[in-house]
């Protein structure tokens, strides 16, 4: 009887210990799972907030602002773009956001306590879309070279952003460049005479390769090459020079976009988004059958209005009849944008998009002429 009691007592303790351990394990499991879910939710929330910030910054024209990253500064934010679909998210976290509409030009990775946003409208010749540039105070932009006009324009344009923390400096000679601290360096060779010829300046030797990149605009042309540091040399990232498709205007959004983007792939991928929109907009102005030479949209309404007014023959001529007329220009712009979009979609350097620039200039001239006695197309 005494022995039976001892066995029962021991059994009870073992039973209690086992049951307790199982219950404890159950709750520990719940806590661990919940912690993981919370972390995923947090990264999702962070990416969603970042997306809202980007949406807000991209829609309004010429906005410059900085946003305190707060808890985001613990994470590396990455930006990518493939086949016309942009993506950003937190490195190493599952949450990410994709966007095939808004062109976003940024370094490949940012980790900073402040994030800087700048949006600029892209005109071809009418407003096509707003380009959003994203950067951080710990990315330093060094302008080198002798294209004074562009250097001054860029420094003036970014003066407001500098107050928000944008970090840029002009050095005439690449070898005079002295960078220090835990920063990323972006060299902007404004006339293409120093990168890659002069190699990596001594002031950048201690930087890791992925922290130093460059863009060289080939002087007198609309072409640019993208580079990355590789030891003591510049490694060219694109096979053929990349064409900067833009009108010759101040605050050239397409040129500035190339400065803020680290690679040619990211640049052309985001430019494709602009050409998607350009093709659609030509249909808003010229009608959905403008590619076949049949007018519609805003153009048709203007033509119908002026047709019934004999005094407005000049307007009809500018819209339809002159050798250089709005209908033909819109048609050429529509087909040009479609072709260009396809080329960029295949990841090709958009050299054959050059034609678009002359057509856009022509349409811009027609629109100016319309202003004298008629309603402008855009």
């Amino acid at each position: 009887m005494k022995k039976k009691g001892q066995v029962e007592l021991t059994f009870n303790w073992i039973y209690v210990a086992l049951a307790g351990a199982i219950i404890l394990l159950f709750f520990v499991g719940i806590v661990i799972r919940q912690a993981k879910v919370s972390e995923e939710q947090l990264s999702g929330e962070v990416v969603r907030i970042l997306d809202s910030i980007l949406s807000g910054a991209s829609v309004s024209e010429k906005t410059k602002n900085s946003v305190e990253a707060g808890g985001l500064s613990d994470y590396v934010i990455y930006f990518d773009c493939n086949e016309g679909v942009g993506e950003f998210g937190l490195k190493g976290k599952p949450a990410r956001m994709q966007n095939s509409i808004d062109p976003l030009f940024a370094p490949k990775e940012i980790q900073s306590s402040f994030i800087l946003f700048w949006s600029l409208p892209y005109h071809l010749p009418f407003k096509v879309i707003d380009f959003l540039f994203v950067t951080a105070p710990n990315v330093k932009y060094y302008l080198v070279g002798n294209d004074e006009e562009f250097v001054n324009e860029f420094l003036d344009s970014t003066a407001g952003l500098e107050q928000e923390g944008f970090n840029r400096e002009y050095v005439a000679d690449l070898n005079d460049l002295k960078a220090e601290g835990k920063i990323k360096v972006r060299v902007v060779d404004v006339d293409g005479l120093q990168v890659p010829e002069k190699g990596i300046p001594a002031g950048l030797n201690l930087f890791s390769d992925e922290d130093v990149s460059a863009i060289a605009f080939i002087g007198g042309t609309n072409l640019a090459n993208f580079y990355q540091k590789e030891g003591n040399l510049w490694k060219k990232l694109n096979k053929e020079p990349v064409e900067i498709i833009s009108l010759d205007e101040e605050r050239n959004a397409a040129k500035y976009a190339a400065i803020f983007t680290e690679s040619a792939e990211l640049y052309t991928c985001n430019m494709k988004k602009a050409f998607d929109r350009l093709e659609i907009l030509t249909e808003v102005y010229g009608g959905e059958e403008i590619a076949q030479g049949k007018i519609g949209g805003k153009l048709k309404q203007m033509v119908d209005f002026y047709k019934n007014r004999p005094a407005s023959s000049e307007c009809i001529a500018l819209l339809l009849e002159y050798k250089s007329n709005a209908k033909d220009a819109l048609r050429a712009l529509n087909t040009g944008a479609a072709g260009c979009r396809l080329e960029l979609g295949f990841g090709e350097s958009p050299l054959s998009c050059a034609e678009i620039i002359s057509v856009a200039n022509e349409l811009g001239k027609i629109n100016e002429d319309l202003r004298i006695n008629c309603v402008q197309l855009y």
Binding site: S52, S100, I129, V284, Q301, M302, R371, Q376
Partner: protein
């Protein structure tokens, strides 16, 4: 002895029963709390989405009152574009604009002097769980007038976001 054993077994079963009932209560409470939090979050996200779509609509190059190379007029839609843009929105609704607006209905209504209305984008989901309308006052510019100067009208843009 048998009776004591039976009592002990009943006691253990009762304890286990109460334990599982408490666990069940806990799970039900947690589920209800999560459900309420989920609906609250869904509502918050839908509100944010509606505002975001409204913001995007107000700055759409397809609608804005442009002035050549100058900056476009704020909160203004071009009537000539409004009259023809619905075809473009319909044509590219799935390929392009769905990525921009997702499930939403966007319309513009004139309130003075006329009462014209334009349905620009209409993409409700098959099953509507919730909808959030947002309104924003805009001016409507009509360039084609006999007076050779633009005529401005008053209207509003209505954006209904769905989830």
């Amino acid at each position: 002895m048998d009776r004591t054993g039976q009592i002990k077994i009943s006691e253990t079963i009762a304890v286990l029963f109460i334990f599982f009932v408490l666990i069940l209560f806990g799970i039900i409470f947690y589920y209800k709390y999560q459900q309420a939090a989920f609906f609250e979050k869904e509502e918050e996200l839908l509100g944010a989405k509606a505002i975001e779509i409204t913001l995007k609509t107000l700055f759409l190059p397809e609608l804005i009152c442009s002035k050549g190379a100058a900056e476009p007029e704020d909160n203004c839609f071009d009537v000539l574009k409004l009259d023809s843009v619905d075809k473009t929105f319909r044509k590219y609704a799935d390929d392009y604009y769905f990525d921009l607006f997702s499930y939403a209905t966007i319309s513009v209504k004139e309130v003075y002097p006329g009462d014209s209305s334009w349905l620009l984008y209409d993409k409700p989901p098959l099953k509507i769980n919730r909808k959030e309308p947002t309104f924003f006052v805009v001016s409507l510019r009509d360039d084609l007038t006999d007076e050779n100067k633009p005529q401005y009208r008053l209207g509003y843009v209505e954006v209904v976001a769905y989830s």
